[in-house]
Symmetry: C3
Subunit: 207 residues, 3 copies
């Protein structure tokens, strides 16, 4: 079970690293920029979570995450050099799986180490979205998670489902699966039907 | 006394969260962007301080800060939807109170955990201004604290007053109040009379 | 030996602080902006490394780093006010020395506290380049380390040399000197002959 989890974790890291590599590609960065953006996107959220919870950062004693990042970056680079097309659609679907997994893992880790429920939802969401947020800030984009698209909100929804399952004494495993499915399907539905949160309409005068 | 402090702390967090919400409004962000910007502005400085001092981050086991942030963001959003005007002036005055309070709290926490005086001033200032700095970086603004206006410098002034009081063996309570008043009035005066620090004049050639 | 190291460390911090001050000058920042940018550039990388390794941050109990930063910022400001020219060339050479030193110090600290070799290379590189990266992000520049120039890659080369020396049972002191010289000369050569890493060519369609 633990090994199985570790593989999902590595797969999630690889998917996020690919999205960082693609951003580096769009911004015409060099070889090192690719590795930094890939790494920051993949492990940024979990690193911040562990620092805030005052725990050892998960990748310091386990180099397998770095191998996953390097492999994902390399595959993406080779793909972009060889092929004329990149299947962004499939990457976004894979990203939804990664988001769902990271969110629930972060939430659980926060609960295990004594965070209150609301804080645990925040830390789970942070685990899922913060890597992409730092990636965007580094590339001088306004972070996508701050604008229109339904992304982080699906993490919050998953977190609420987890806590509800917990409140009704569902076993931890059930709560995890329910929460992951909630985030996953909410995200896939948002992508399919272009769900958006209401954006502020400018109109009030600030003075 | 501790309870009383906690309420001031929450009020400061709420004021800072309002300024984050206003920035999200100016940048046309969605519901989640508002919450992220509000939270980052409100607790970013204190989070970094606690991570640097290697202490448990203050909001992990106390969800009241998150409730304050959510309430402040909600009130601001409703206000902006209902009213045609937002009292930015009053918010800036409230922000000066929050700045003064956070600065001295950060300074004291740093001193308590063994930071040297100069480092404690830096950490107090960081507590006061870093949230706003991250907010601006996320929104692709050059941080206001790095430009012209007298903001962070009032924190440094407050910190020096604290250490002077301490050097003359004033009781901790007196030092706190004196330092807060220094930061508060310096900030209010800077706002009223548009005090600026000298900005570099471009002229030297870099080669 | 320890004292001697501390002086090199302070010199490296001062050089990095100067490059932060110059950036503040280019961006027309005020007195406080200068200090923040100088400090962030000088100690940002080491601070992040210590937080990730869950160690006490190196400057919290030792104010000498802050004195070095303030002195470096002051000297740079006075220079820019008095002189018509700034010797950017010499600063870049000094920066290469600082980079080589910080990289190897970071690598060693990471190895000492149990990081795996690959992670140690990453943390050494981070110590060397992260301060400059945050400086650039704060100033809304795309970080130079992410673009074209051979900078961070010289840290990785130095790290590999260190681990190779270690694998052949060279004494720690030899490994350190060899790694520093590798990073230093690779960086100086990259500056002299304008070495670049291959940058992505845009051509593949993302869809």
């Amino acid at each position: 079970m633990t090994t199985w989890f570790h593989w999902i974790d590595l797969a999630g890291v690889a998917v996020f690293a690919m999205s960082g590599t693609l951003m580096a590609y769009k911004k015409h960065m060099d070889g090192f920029g690719v590795v930094v953006l890939a790494a920051v996107t993949a492990i940024g959220g979990g690193t911040l979570r562990d620092m805030i919870l005052d725990l050892p950062v998960f990748w310091v004693k386990d180099p397998s995450f770095f191998y996953a990042i390097l492999a994902a970056a390399l595959i993406t680079i080779v793909w972009l050099r060889v092929s004329q097309r990149f299947p962004l659609r499939y990457l976004l679907v894979a990203d939804a799986f990664g988001l769902a997994f990271f969110n629930v893992m972060g939430l659980q880790k926060a609960l295990t180490y004594g965070a209150s429920p609301l804080v645990a939802i925040a830390l789970g969401t942070m685990t899922g979205v913060f890597g992409g947020l730092i990636r965007d800030v580094m590339c001088r984009e306004i972070p996508v998670v701050l604008k229109g698209e339904l992304y982080a909100t699906t993490c919050i929804a998953g977190g609420i489902v987890y806590l509800l399952c917990d409140a009704f004494n569902a076993p931890a495993y059930t709560a995890m699966v329910m929460a992951m499915l909630t985030t996953l399907f909410a995200r896939l539905a948002a992508m399919k039907w272009h769900w958006h949160l209401p954006v502020f309409e400018a109109g009030t005068k600030l003075d």
